[in-house]
């Protein structure tokens, strides 16, 4: 189906494919929505965290006397005070190797702080101002130790952070299905590319900081935890596992959540501290993160040194890819920290037909905030490395950026394609996305303009960058997760109930925080049942309402959770058909679904509306023998494979050689996520993703000094882009349905972020190519670009 056909179809309906405005919007636009900090919780104590200002220090005496004298401050607890509040240390669900080394990470540090932001003591006070005053008044003696900031320095074990482990090297994980083939390919290659890329650390910066509130049931032993989390279901399991509360007594609610991008896909110290204090004190507790606090207390993303090698024949056809990573874990393992680089492990060959493949990653501890999933998680890093290295290969071979890609794309007729990294890519047709993206950007005119400026000696250089990506998402087949040693499964649950009056309730285990699941799930159900999406209500994000779920991350919601909703709806329809056939005294096959009713083919007056069928299921007066009195479908769907969305993006930048500043002038994106349930939502995911990835290329970096201090923890100096820094985008799409699931859908949440970073850097390097510049370290700040130009010209810095 072409984009135009899809648009035409969308204009006519309100089901799958329609640009239905979101059901979520009204409450968010009017202030009616409730985020964690908005909740009124009578009697709650506000918690404040005393955090280490040192990257690495022994903790001496903690003097709480001045803090306890602050009006409104009720309690101060140290790590030692709270040590027995937890039955286990903070959880890491992904021990990637059998011999992976990890130190116990307690919510409140006891002997030693291992990063700036490590919690050393907790203040509980009557209101949020008193909590802050109390934190300021706690006096802690620290004995500073040497910081470990640089990854290679960390790997050298010059200073060992966790003495008990004896090393900073946590694990080495390899994926080399055929080592000899890789060696042979490099030995026989005409062209070999060897590049080192640095993935700077990023601060996810969801605009809502984290927050948590716990209401204990003192007499029942139950507790309700409200958290700004992407993972209420996983969090409930982990609360039970670490706090000694029976899982059945724990209810976790994620109210409105203001963005996550992976940073709220975690089990955080503050969640476990809030539980511990609520249980110990028998009163509700709450905490809301400050922004500067967020920068050190919430996980960061990326943080890798990538050594990338390509082998190719004389035509520039790839024969092998070999990559070695050094990955920054930070001071401790959070929920999925060690596994994040592995999510990219299969994708360093990108969209290309790569006969031989080798991947190795070593995870090292540093005295910095832990890393974990950040939008794309492993896949942006992989895509960056291959899409940057292909530029080097193009130069080696003497062809342009588009041509080197065309020569290497996996051809459309090879799908499903068994890649040498071990994945089976479900469906793909890469080259049309390149053609269309080049057309959208007006490649001929752009190249002509670029040449005109070069000939005229213009100091404002134009650059055009291309990148094509494929990602594996829809996390994930549980058996594959098992092979990667991930502790949990990758299924998703859904229930669809038709209520006696005919309206439909959907219960989903996915946990939206901006993605619009209520709208998209309604469209899926409406499409299948022939009802209006407004008659479908989607419930989620509360473990008492939606007891089973694996939550939202890894572009999994639609290809796993949405598919589960579709399958549960099919069950409802099957049962409705059986019931209607019984009452209408016909064969099930004689019934067809038309405009929300099941009609006997050829006798349209013999029909039952869904509402009538639902009421019959409710009254149970006349059901087929053995049929249970309900109209409910319930599915737990474990996907048989990942899904593999793909596309090509093209950026046009202008680089001012006099100031080093880079302007993003124009951007075209052609993506393929299979069948689109709501193209408006798909585009929104892409817009945001593109800006987030471009921000890594141009502006964002968590800057640590040699002492391990984060130098830019505020939004005044960590440069999240504003509207003024980015252009509007030119989007189009192709539709190559996934054969993996019955809806034919693929995920789209991370795609923009995965591909826009190399797209933008490729454009900058293209602009500066006449100066002999072939690479630039991210982010490409004006200072960096200016210095690079000066160096290229042989001018002193």
């Amino acid at each position: 189906m072409t984009a135009t056909e899809a648009t035409a179809e969308a204009a006519t309906g309100r089901g799958i494919g329609s640009r239905l405005p979101r059901k979520e919007d009204a409450r968010l636009l009017t202030g009616e929505a409730r985020f964690v900090d908005d909740l009124a919780i009578p009697g709650a104590l506000w918690m404040g965290m005393v955090r280490s200002p040192y990257a690495h220090a022994r903790i001496g005496n903690v003097d709480a006397s001045a803090a306890l004298a602050v009006p409104g401050v009720r309690h101060v607890f140290t790590g030692a005070d709270l040590r027995d509040a937890w039955t286990a240390a903070m959880p890491c669900a992904w021990p990637v190797t059998e011999d992976m080394k990890a130190a116990d990470h307690w919510p409140v540090a006891v002997d030693k702080a291992c990063y700036v932001g490590d919690i050393v003591a907790v203040v509980a006070a009557d209101d949020r101002y008193a909590a802050v005053d109390g934190v300021d008044a706690v006096e802690v003696d620290y004995d500073p130790l040497e910081a470990v900031v640089d990854l290679e320095d960390a790997a050298s074990d010059r200073v060992v952070i966790h003495e008990g482990l004896g090393t900073n090297r946590s694990y080495t994980w390899t994926l080399t299905p055929e080592p000899e083939a890789v060696e042979r390919a490099f030995a026989e290659a005409t062209h070999v590319v060897r590049e080192r890329y640095l993935q700077q650390r990023l601060i996810p910066s969801a605009i809502e900081p984290r927050g948590v509130a716990v209401v204990p049931g003192v007499y029942g032993g139950d507790l309700t935890l409200y958290s700004a989390t992407q993972i209420p279901h996983i969090l409930r399991v982990m609360i039970a596992a670490t706090c000694g509360v029976p899982e059945a007594k724990v209810r976790v609610i994620a109210p409105s959540v203001g963005g996550g991008f992976g940073s709220k896909l975690d089990v955080y110290a503050e969640d476990l501290i809030a539980v511990a204090l609520a249980r110990r004190l028998g009163v509700p507790t709450r905490w809301t993160e400050g922004r500067s606090e967020n920068s050190v207390a919430t996980i960061q993303g990326r943080g890798q040194i990538q050594d990338m090698e390509l082998a190719a024949d004389a035509d520039g056809k790839l024969t092998a890819v070999r990559v070695k990573l050094l990955a920054d874990m930070g001071a401790y393992m959070q929920l999925a920290t060690p596994g994040i680089p592995l999510l990219g492990a299969f994708l360093y060959g990108g969209v290309y037909d790569v006969p031989a493949y080798s991947f190795e990653c070593t995870g090292v501890f540093t005295t910095k905030t832990p890393t974990d999933a950040y939008r794309g998680a492993g896949r942006p890093e992989a895509t960056y490395a291959i899409e940057r290295a292909m530029e080097s290969l193009a130069r080696e071979v003497g062809v342009d950026a588009a041509e080197i890609r065309r020569r290497n794309y996996v051809p459309a007729d090879r799908f499903p394609y068994d890649g040498s990294s071990g994945l089976t890519f479900d469906s793909g047709d890469y080259e049309p996305t390149l053609d269309r993206a080049l057309e959208l950007i007006g490649v001929r005119d752009r190249r002509a303009e670029q040449q005109r400026r070069r000939d005229a000696g213009d100091t404002k250089h134009l650059g055009l960058g291309i990148a094509t990506y494929v990602e594996m998402c829809g996390l994930a087949p549980s058996r594959v997760l098992a092979s990667l040693r991930y502790a949990a499964g990758g299924w998703e649950a859904a229930t669809v109930r038709v209520l006696p009056t005919g309206t439909v309730q959907v219960v989903s285990g996915a946990t939206p925080h901006g993605q619009g699941h209520e709208t998209s799930w309604s469209q899926i159900v409406a499409d299948k049942l022939g009802v209006d999406p407004d008659s479908v209500e989607v419930l989620h994000s509360d473990t008492a309402i939606s007891p089973m779920g694996m939550d939202t991350y890894g572009s999994r919601s639609l290809p796993v959770g949405g598919v589960a909703v579709g399958m549960a709806t099919d069950q409802v329809l099957d049962k409705a058909r059986t019931l209607a056939a019984h009452q209408l005294e016909c064969a099930e096959d004689d019934l067809e679904l038309v405009e929300g009713e099941l009609r006997v083919k050829g006798t349209p007056t013999k029909a039952m509306t869904l509402q009538a069928i639902a009421f019959e299921a409710f009254s149970a007066h006349n059901l087929p023998d053995g049929m249970e009195p309900n109209l409910i479908g319930q599915v737990t769907y474990d996907p048989p494979n990942f899904v593999f969305p793909f596309g090509t993006h093209v950026a046009v930048v202008e680089v001012d050689e006099e100031t080093g500043s880079v302007s993003l002038l124009d951007y075209a994106a052609v993506d393929d996520c299979g069948v689109q349930v709501n193209p408006m939502i798909v585009e929104g995911q892409l817009h945001g993703g593109i800006v987030q990835g471009a921000a890594q290329a141009l502006w964002e970096e968590a800057v640590y000094d040699d002492d391990g201090l984060l130098r830019n923890p505020t939004l005044a100096d960590y440069c999240v882009p504003t509207a003024a820094e980015v252009p509007s985008f030119k989007l189009d799409h192709t539709v190559t349905p996934s054969p993996t699931n019955p809806l034919g859908v693929k995920g789209i949440g991370e795609a923009g972020t995965i591909v826009s970073t190399p797209t933008v850097i490729n454009a900058i390097v293209d602009a500066l190519a006449p100066l002999g510049i072939t690479d630039i370290t991210m982010p490409a700040t004006p200072e960096r670009v200016w210095n690079l130009i000066r160096e290229a010209r042989g001018e002193a810095r």
Binding site: P21, R22, E24, D25, A26, R27, L28, L29, T30, G31, E32, A33, R34, F35, D37, D38, A40, D127, R128, Y129, S205, A206, I207, E208, P209, S256, V257, G258, G259, F261, T288, R291, S292, H513, G514, Q515, G516, M680, I681, E683, G684, L686, H687, G688, G689, I690, V691, Q692, T714, L715, A716, V720, T722, A723, A724, V726, S728, F729, L731, G752
Partner: protein, 163 residues
Amino acid sequence: MNITLSVNGEERSTDVEPRRLLVHHLRDDLGLTGTNVGCDTSSCGACTVLMDGESVKSCTVLAVQADGRQITTIEGLAATAAGGDGEVGALHPMQRAFHEQHGLQCGFCTPGMVLAAVSLLDENPHPTEADVRLGLEGNLCRCTGYHNIVKAVLAAAGQEVPA
């Protein structure tokens, strides 16, 4: 100190500490939690409200500085601003434009963004795309990439909206 604010058309009189920020006064004292806090450096704009019709970041205004002033928060926008019909469930044209153009995702920056946009059009009823982008520079959004926010503001200004 005792202060009296006109909030969304209603007189509200309260005792506050001199150091209390307007945003905490609105949220914690008056229960108007639509105004959000996203940073601690006046950078993100999630706390934007209208004070005497002009947008201000309510994290950078002390509650006592707002004494005697008229404040419009997102909860009162539809009812108190021009174009709202005051009915329960009504939307201001800017809110409607954000809905129709998909100018919001998680919605956390949205109240501040909408109020900043209302203020922008008040000052410049016929902005160009560049005017809108510069005018919203004080409000951060991490979800939308701004594309559809810009479209929404242009649509609310009655202008041709690019795809």
